[in-house]
Each structure stands twice: as C-alpha cells, then as structure tokens.
Amino acid sequence: MNKKRFPVRLNIRNNVIDMTHGSGGRAMAQLIEELFVKHLDNDLLRQANDQAAFNVPGGRMVISTDGHVISPLFFPGGDIGSLSVHGTINDVAMSGARALYLSAGFILEEGFPLSELEKIVVSMADASRNSGVPVVTGDTKVVEKGKGDGIFITTSGVGMVPEGVQISGDQARPGDTILISGTIGDHGVAIMSSRENLEFETSIKSDSAAVHTLVADMVTAVPGIHCLRDPTRGGLATTLNELAQQSSVGMILNENRIPVNPSVTAACELLGLDPLYVANEGKLVCICAPQHSQTLLAIMQAHPLGRNAAVIGEVTDDPNGLVQMQTRFGGSRIVDWLSGEQLPRIC
C-alpha cells in the first residue's frame, strides 16, 4: 500500500494507546495498518476485511482458542506475543492437526506505550513466520486506564487433522507408555525469576516454542498415537491427572526418568516448589501403545525440540484413577492435582 492515507506517521517511540485507538475511526485504522499489518503482514490480512476466507482440504477441522494475560509481559525466552502464537499453535497440534491460520484479538489498556506494543507485535510476527502459521485476522479494543494489565491477547487457531488420527484425552489404555518431549519447569521458573519480589538470578529461559513440526513427525510415524497434551499451567502433574481422569486409568511414573534442568531443580529447591507442578510452554506429553514407544522416542529425539525426550512411565488399570510415582529415593508417592496456586513456602 503506497498511498499515504495518514498524513502523519504513528509516533511509536513516544506515544501511548488512547481511547481513540479503539473507537473504530481513523486512529484505529492507522494503528492497525502501521503497526499490526505492517509486521504480521500476509495476503489475507492485507485484504483488510473483518474476517479471512480460505479454502480447506476436505476432512476434519480443529479449532482452539487461548487467552493470554501473563505478567510480566517480557521474560527470559519470550514475551506475551510469542507465547500467544506458540500456545495456540500447540493447542491445535495436540489433536495431531497442523495449524493453518491464526486470529488475534487485542485488548489494550489506555496508556500502554506503543513502543512496547510494537515489540510484542514484532515478536508475534517472528513466531508466526518461523512457524509458518500466519495471523490472518484480528481485532483491537481499548479499555480505560486501570481496567487492563497493559495488554491481553486472545489467539485462536484452525487446523486439519490427518486421516486415521484419533488423538484425544480419553484414549489412554492400561499398558500404554507415557513420554515427555523434554525438560520440565523451565517456563514457570523463568517467569518467577522476573517477578520483583522473588529476586533470584538464573540463566533459565522459558521454553516457549511451537511444537507442531515435532507433532507432525510423530503423527507421520505413528498415526495411532493415543494422547497428546502440552503441560502448561499446573505443570506435568496436572496434565497427567487430567488424562488419567478422562481415560479412567491410573499411571505409574518413574521419577528418575523425568528430565529436569539442574538449574530448574535448584530454583525450585530454593523456593520450595515442585517442578512437577511448574508450567511449560514448549513441551508435550504423549501416550501411545507400548509397541510404538521406541519409534516415537527416536523420532522425538531427532527433532530439535525433542532432544531430551524420555519415557517416564506407564498407564495402569486403576479404578481410583491415581497418578503414582516411584521416587528417586526408592519410595513411592502419589502425584495429585495441584491445589490452588503453588506459593513459595517458608516451611
């Protein structure tokens, strides 16, 4: 678009969001064009409709949506922008589908600096481009100062499920193998290290990443995977309990096999947290029939995002639906749902 529709360019360095940016008028149009479309740039988005229309191959579609309210907005290894892109691509991927397109809704707080907004949008654009999944439509609203935490982003994604793939949380069966694609707890610890009042120094980065190409490799090799899920809020423990409940099975884990970055272990010791309950943003849990486990493990380890993949346990026939764990120490314990929020303890 070469025509100069707006006489004065958006002053991103100095200006902030104000109520006119959400009113649907010229200010909003300029914000969209000179900030959102400029960076997220793709054919569908440039059509500037209220929606994006596209053809899909016949078959089974998947849609997923996620709201992102994270604080702080910027953290080691990512920001709310990249997180929102990766998160939804991953949610779609957990059905075995390849994400095709994303939408993004922004709720901006009056007073939010344009320079911060641009950083976030650039980050989204990078994540989107690197994943090959464009953001094709969006929405912007502005709320009064005090009514939003700077920025909230909601992303939705659509994808197509390949033939013969029936991945769902209720498909786990006794005897199945449980795999994890890499180390746990990195994202949560990275977030906590950026929170003011906890103040510890570490080189841990969030693991925020789009795992759809990893999933594609896995599903190509073993279309009959039973379950896939990304262990986000509430950590690995919560995800496994969800799957156990949905499938009405039990699980036994081997603590020795669960990969944890030593720095994450140390940070959790310091704060009195259990890595099993700390959030991840670039990992997946896979449950498959035992005869496929070695194949899948090899496929995962061959992928850059699955280098530390491991077999961590197996599914059992348990009417109580409990997730148990053989501890590193030689004892055994239950790994239960997370109760409330994990708070650092003194005792």
């Binding site: 009042n197 030593p262 501890t327 030689g330 004892g331 314990r333 409330g340 708070l343 303890r345 005792c347």
Partner: protein, 373 residues
C-alpha cells in the same frame, strides 16, 4: 546440589532400610513422632514409609506454625485490613488458611484488601520503607527458625526510625509444645498418645541447639534424635531411635551434626532475647493454652508492636464442627480418622489448617500418601 543430593541417595536408602529391618524387634511396635512439618513433608514426598517395616509408624506432630496458629489470630489479621487502611505482609503459607466464616487472607485480597505475599521478613520492611504514607504490618509466624529474622527487622526499623511499620507477632516455641504433648492431659476427655521417641526438628535445632531437649529426655524417659531435613537423615534418625528404644536408653542424640551443635546459634538467640520476650500463655490450635510457649515484642520496641498500635481484641474462634485438626495435630488421630477428610475437606476446600498447609498431616497425606501401604 551439594549437601542435598548426597543425602537423597537411593543406595544409601536401601542400606539404612535393611539396617532398620534388622534392628526393629518384630515383637515391638515403634511409634515415632516427627515433631516438624518439614519431616512430615519429606516422609511423604520421598515415600519413606515404603522403606521401613510395618511395625514402625510415624505420628505427625504439630510442628507446622501455620497449623497451630489459632483461627482467632487470622481473624485478627482480617480485622486489621478491614478496619484500618493498612498493608498486610504475610508469608505465602498463610494465604489460604481458613479463618472464621471460611474467610482467608487470599479471599480478602480478592475483595480488594492490600495483602502482599513476601518471601522474606526483609521484604516487609522494604515495603514500609518504600511506602512511607502507608501503615505496613508484618504478620510474623514461625518457630524458632523463623523468629531471628523478625527480631532483626524490628531492630533495623528502630535504627532507621521507620514510623509506619509494625509486627503482629505470633512466634511460638518448640520445647513447650513438646512438653504439652508429652505431659498429662488437662481434661480427662483428651486421649493419651503412645510416643516411643521423637524425631527432633532440624532447623529449629540449628538455632536453639540440642541442649533444650535434654530435660525432656530425662523427665519423660523418651529418646530424642535431632534429624536433618533430607530423607536419609529421617531414616538414619529413625534407626537411631529404634536402637535407643531397644536398649532402653532415653538420650538426646544429634543426627544433624553438620548444622546443629549443642549450644546452637548463640548470636541469633541473643538477638531474639533482645527484641522479644515470653508471653505468659498462648493458645495453640490443637493443644489449647500452653504456658510460656510464645513470644511478644519487648517494651523497648513497643512502637513496632501491632498489638499496641492497633486495637486487636482476642477472638475466641472455634474449629469447624467435625474437624479433627486438634486431635490430628497432637498425633492422637490420623487424617483418615476425620469424617471430613476427603469428603467436605479437601485441598481445594480446606476446613482446617491441617489440610491447607502442605506441612499439615492431612495435606501431606492427601497429596502423597492416600494409597497407604
């Protein structure tokens, strides 16, 4: 991690486990009370029970400062934020503890009260320093381990002449609580518990030393072994207790020699004595009134005492009907003996402190031990 990993070694666990199996007399049953909530947590988290024979049982004691804090004191804290324009600073452990009317600090915060979770006592003082226009109150809890930091910040507040800072002091003492458990029940209605020996607290002992326990061992003829925090420490200390019981000894032994000495940390003790003093009595959840078992702020530091600056009337609050926390805290009943356990009272919806604090017997049992061997 040095001094952590070595004390969690599986091979050594097997070693000590065999030793315990050989040493425990199959004709006897050993009831060992771990006083300290941290030990309860360790036993469950590492699954220690699986490695010791059935005739050795752990009885979970009241060493969880959150669990023994009377509901009335949390009600007081809630009164403070409701009636005055204050910022209340608290350790994370207290946020979800149920007060009267199923209120809690977390719920009050959700309704707009300025309640802030702090990791360290220092943070509370920093908040006061950075917000001179606001009254800041630090909700101080804990046994002797957590008390010296409170004493330090009060001294610091005085040195810097900070005018907007007070402490709501609820620090409690370990030896009087042990005495209360070992002593005769006051009311005939209370059950006696059989305790054959104590696993002594790790970090309380770091501060107070091993000496204060000697009187109990002598007076009550019970062996006490001060145990470190790691699962191997717990097992070794259990072995040492079993040996003492077999040999009819009742001594104070120290398994945690790498951090505990007979005299303890005298610098920290002196500091506490300078700023705080004994209350004549204090109500403990589960133990009732225990004489000389808690601390208050000395007169010289009265300007930092929330109980002097604000009106904090004593609140007589009672536990939820059917809640067995008092009996569980004293080791008389197990979590599964409580009617509310797992039905009405769960970690999501805790009725009593034993379920809220991850140290509490009920929470630890729920999270780690429901599949009892």
């Amino acid at each position: 991690m040095k001094y952590i990993d070595e004390f969690r070694r599986r091979d050594l666990a097997q070693q000590i486990s065999s030793a315990i199996k050989k040493t425990a007399d199959p004709e006897k049953h050993y009831h060992l009370m771990e006083f300290c909530g941290g030990h309860t947590h360790a036993i469950f988290r590492y699954g220690v029970q699986k490695l010791i024979p059935d005739n050795v049982s752990y009885i979970h004691g009241p060493g969880c400062p959150v669990c023994v804090l009377p509901v009335g004191r949390i009600d007081n804290a809630l009164q403070l934020v409701n009636e005055y324009d204050v910022t209340l600073c608290t350790y994370g452990d207290l946020m979800r503890v149920p007060a009267s009317g199923l209120n809690s600090l977390l719920r009050a915060k959700a309704r707009g009260a300025d309640i802030r979770m702090v990791y360290s006592a220092m943070d509370a003082l920093n908040i006061a320093r950075e917000n001179p226009a606001k009254e800041v109150i630090f909700f101080a809890i804990g046994f002797e381990t957590t008390t010296p930091p409170t004493a330090l910040i009060i001294k610091q507040a005085q040195a810097e002449q900070i005018k907007n800072f007070t402490v709501f002091c609820n620090h409690v003492l370990t030896p009087p609580a042990m005495h209360s458990i070992l002593g005769e029940p006051e009311n005939s209605g209370q059950d006696r518990i059989i305790i054959d020996g104590f696993l002594g607290p790790s970090h309380v002992s770091t501060i107070i030393g091993s000496r204060p326990y000697e009187v109990f061992a002598e007076q009550f003829y019970k062996p006490i072994v001060i145990a470190g925090f790691e699962p191997l420490d717990v097992m070794q200390a259990s072995l040492m207790l079993i040996l003492q019981i077999n040999e009819g000894r009742h001594e104070v032994e120290n398994e945690y020699t790498r951090a505990v000495s007979r005299n303890g940390n005298q610098k920290a003790q002196a500091l506490v004595a300078e700023v705080l003093e004994l209350r004549s009595e204090f109500e403990w959840r589960g133990l009732g009134m225990v004489p000389e078992s808690a601390l208050k702020i000395r007169f010289e530091y009265a300007e930092f005492d929330a109980e002097k600056r604000f009106n904090i009337p004593p609140v007589q609050a009672s536990d939820v009907k059917g809640c067995e926390c008092p009996q569980i805290l004293r080791g008389v009943k197990k979590p599964t003996d409580c009617q509310l356990f797992g039905t009405v009272c769960t970690p999501e919806n805790p009725m009593g402190a034993c379920m809220v604090s991850s140290e509490g017997a009920c929470a630890a049992y729920w999270t780690y031990g429901r599949l009892s061997q």
